[in-house]
């Protein structure tokens, strides 16, 4: 349908446009200041003072980053985009620094330093000298791995956002989203979202700094573990030994009472969480547009579970196949639905769809 010519959009005035741009830039700069200082500023006077300060802090951060990147061989124009053909050392001062490496982003926390080597094509290795680095890693999709080396500990990325801290010989890893494998002293541990690991088990692991608590990229190998925008994901923590034979391991109970399980097929990276049928169904519904194949797989999983959501899942699978133009499969599924659930909630609709196809 075409635009209605008789209802044109009244454009913003140049003045309003400029005012919006200024306000937004100030607000975002103020965010950065708020994050850096964590200082609650309440009065209007303090607000504007904060904006001034944050602008100055932002400028100082850029200058410091350029100064730090220069000896490592990266070009000054990069402004936080590491050219990682050559090893690049990034050392943050009193404020954190954000560096983009290929399609991934590293946030080097205050008073931390890392050396970044490689690129997306050859694999990226981040060597953590000290402090904390928060990594947001784009899906690897068969590309060479993204690894963080902290002393004797090596963290291989399977999924997406995690922080590695090193203080002397104590290394800790916190996963915010996705899955990573931690290899230390010949042992391998798979960490999922909110999973924590420390080389010194007596020491509690600190949470990821608030700045980094954002949703990031998905990894195609573990679609069922990714968070969605609409529904907060349940968290699970699973650990296993690499050398041990595949077996079920006890899982820590999370506050929501849900747990995860390790697949007994010996595939180290793949961890399948246990979802309720309803959660899986809702997740599948959300995936319909972006990943229809994954949605169909989830619907099938719910259906095979035989629970109260099985009928809806079967119908949803049929409908989705129909929308994808796979009418033969859809017909078969609709027929099965009518056979199994002749008085189901969607029986009338299934009959109608089936008749339409005949």
């Amino acid at each position: 349908m075409s635009d209605i010519d008789t209802l044109p959009v009244t454009p913003l005035s140049e003045h309003a446009r400029q005012r919006i741009i200024d306000n937004v830039v100030d607000e975002v700069a103020f965010d950065k200041y708020r994050q850096d200082e964590s200082a609650p500023l309440r009065s209007a006077h303090r607000y504007w003072f904060g904006i001034g300060l944050s602008a100055a802090a932002g400028a100082a951060l850029v200058v410091a980053l350029l100064f730090v990147l220069r000896p490592g061989g990266s070009s000054p124009k990069a402004q936080g985009v590491a050219q990682t053909g050559e090893p690049t050392r990034v050392a943050a001062g009193d404020a954190a620094s954000t560096v983009t490496v290929g399609t991934s982003t590293l946030t080097v926390e205050a008073r931390s330093s890392v050396v970044v080597t490689g690129d997306d094509d050859r694999g990226i290795e981040v060597s953590l000298e000290n402090g904390t680095v928060v990594c947001q890693v784009a899906p690897r999709r068969g590309r060479p791995p993204f690894q963080v080396v902290a002393g004797h500990v090596r963290v291989v990325v399977v999924g997406t956002e995690f922080a590695v801290s090193r203080k002397d010989q104590v290394v800790s890893v916190v996963v915010r989203s996705g899955v990573v494998r931690v290899i230390a002293a010949g042992k391998e541990t798979v960490l999922q979202a909110d999973g924590r690991w420390s080389s010194d088990e007596r020491k509690p692991v600190k949470k990821i700094p608030k700045r980094a608590q954002v949703k990031t990229t998905k990894d195609s190998t573990v679609p069922s573990l990714q968070p969605t925008q609409l529904a907060p994901r349940k968290t699970r923590v699973t650990r296993r030994r690499a050398s041990a034979k595949p077996r079920r391991t006890p899982v820590k109970k999370t506050p929501n009472g849900d747990g995860g399980k390790v697949q007994p097929n010996g595939d180290k990276g793949k961890v399948e969480p246990k979802r309720s049928d309803e959660a899986s169904y809702r997740r599948a519904a959300l995936l319909e547009r972006s990943k229809p194949a994954a949605a169909i797989a989830l619907y099938r999983q719910v259906e095979n579970g035989g629970g109260s959501w099985a009928a809806s899942a079967l119908f949803a699978r049929a409908r989705l196949q129909l929308e994808r133009g796979r009418s033969q499969i859809a017909k078969r599924l609709l027929s099965r639905y009518l056979r199994l659930y002749p008085r189901g909630a969607n029986a009338a609709m299934a009959t109608r769809l089936l008749n339409k196809r005949k």
Partner: protein, 184 residues
């Protein structure tokens, strides 16, 4: 400069990059909001809110969808939140520029303006989700699939919202005639 590079620079706090980014997307955001709300009365504030949300969330942009689609989703969410709060104060007089005397098409455009004003007044009474789906499809000319993407709904729900809104609007004879003339 690619979108990704510009986005990375914005995330790194580069003010010039942020200004450029805003400049590139402000008109698009404004258009979507204007279509949904029908006037510039509150749109300015909402454009600002949307841009702040976009810049704050930019580091989570995964590049799986087009940047525009991602921005559109945030825009729709901001508009929805506004409508949901019930602060709809549409001033549809802005729907057309002032009509000067002696303009040959003035009468027709005046009628269209009146119908547009009526339509947005009726839309104020309609569920925000239905309203958004309808205006993006019927008024802004987007496909149902696009609207579904923008609103984060599935195709069936989107179609149903559009259909329901249309049928509600058609109860008003003036708006019905206007929609018929516009081919909606």
């Amino acid at each position: 400069m690619t979108e990704q590079t510009l986005a990375a620079q914005c995330v790194a706090g580069d003010e010039r990059a942020q200004r450029r980014f805003i400049d590139e997307h402000i008109d698009y955001i404004h258009r979507v909001l204007f279509r949904i709300l029908g006037s510039n009365h509150v749109v300015e504030d909402l454009v600002q809110d949307t841009l702040i949300q976009v810049l704050r969330s930019l580091r989570t942009f995964r590049g799986q969808a087009k940047l525009r689609t991602w921005i559109a989703r945030i825009t729709v969410r901001v508009a929805y939140a506004h409508l949901k709060r019930g602060r709809v104060q549409t001033v549809p007089l802005e729907l057309l520029p002032d009509i000067s005397a002696g303009d040959p098409g003035a009468e027709a455009r005046l009628a269209a303006r009146n119908a547009g004003r009526r339509m947005y007044a009726l839309l104020d009474e309609i569920d925000p989700k239905q309203r958004i789906a309808f205006v993006l499809h019927a008024i802004d000319g987007r496909t149902v699939r696009e609207v579904a993407q923008m609103t984060g709904s599935n195709l069936i729900a989107t179609k149903s919202r559009i259909r329901r809104t249309k049928s509600k609007l058609r109860r008003d004879s003036v708006v019905s005639a206007f929609l018929r003339e516009a081919g909606i």
